[in-house]
Symmetry: C2
Subunit: 241 residues, 2 copies
Amino acid sequence: MRFVIQFSYDGSGYWGYQKQKNKQTIQQTIEDALFKIFAIKTKIVASGRTDTGVHAINQYAHFDLDVNIEPEKLKIALNHLLPNDIYIKKVSIKPNFHARFDVKKKEYQYIINTGEYNVFENKYVYQYNQDLDVEKMEKAAQQFLGTHDFTSFCKKNLTNDDYQRTIFKIKVQKKEKKVFINIIGSGFLRYMVRNMVGCLIEVGNYKQKENIVPKLLKEKNRQKAGIKAPAEGLYLKRVYY
Amino acid sequence: MRFVIQFSYDGSGYWGYQKQKNKQTIQQTIEDALFKIFAIKTKIVASGRTDTGVHAINQYAHFDLDVNIEPEKLKIALNHLLPNDIYIKKVSIKPNFHARFDVKKKEYQYIINTGEYNVFENKYVYQYNQDLDVEKMEKAAQQFLGTHDFTSFCKKNLTNDDYQRTIFKIKVQKKEKKVFINIIGSGFLRYMVRNMVGCLIEVGNYKQKENIVPKLLKEKNRQKAGIKAPAEGLYLKRVYY
């Protein structure tokens, strides 16, 4: 039986999504909960990884288990066993679903606090605490639209030879003192969103010009593209299947 | 020199505001930071205590120190030394100010999540996760207005013989799936807000009738007045001087 879970997590207490030896990760925590319920070692396959400190509003994973249990009951059992910072929103049974290979698009959201430092959001926004020129950021952001080689905006990976990704939609908007950056793309390379956001921040504080993006994309050189925005402002918001 | 600090804190990591032996408290943490700066043992006096897990958006304290330092510099030094969950918003010098005795009114806010469980707000709202009849709660709440003996709504304290307090304003409102209860009063007894909120929740879920409040006030018996709402939804929002 192929089960699919839709879940959210506060990433601040974890070494990212993916299992690592001797480190607390989201994957390990959910697999441990499944083991407690069924006493069967089960591997879960997510839509993709998230890094240390990165959050998920909606993440998906599948796993195979030869058990007879109603999805709603499994949801309750898992939430009972999981810590408060991981929450299973939905369990379903989908025979031919693959959480990674079936992904069509993903949406990430990044939140920057340009107002005064706020103790309650310390792990949930980037505490930039200074003004940003959101109009310039929005203009620069639109230059990411389309299909590009994102070498300048990701961590180099020896096992990866395809740095082409497509950005379908990107939006920078300010609500009160928060800047929200929403990006929908075909897929995202490691640190890609945080590097794109870092570049947009440097446009917003006038360290870079608003037409910098095409140049940086063309350079294919991570060294040129500026800072990486911190993990705590980043959310995997939606996965499109 | 009498210094006054205005500060906020995320109470989730602390055993409340007030200093206790061998326990991490807000007061101790700030006094430790002052000691690191000036190497002088300094006692700070706040507007009042908050309990374990309770937050403050605006708390005030004063302390006396014979030092020459610009308030803005002291603010920076303190924020540099304090952990991320305590933030000094303002430092000023006010010769005749007393943080406790000069309080005229206080406002507390309580937040209840009636929607789905949310991992990001686990320490910052009461995760009630069920619907509440906010209209009935608002009607019941208005019966707290005025001056009453709040024995039924507080923790009995042998050193306390005055249970009279005045509620100037109380409001229950819903924004999306959150219920916000704001209460302005002359002062608050221990657990008073959480017990009032607990009573209002029992009106909102039909365990109690909306006209229960005058009866409970009259009883002067804590046993009759129902549940105490959990600490994580409670914020000291404003102190009026």
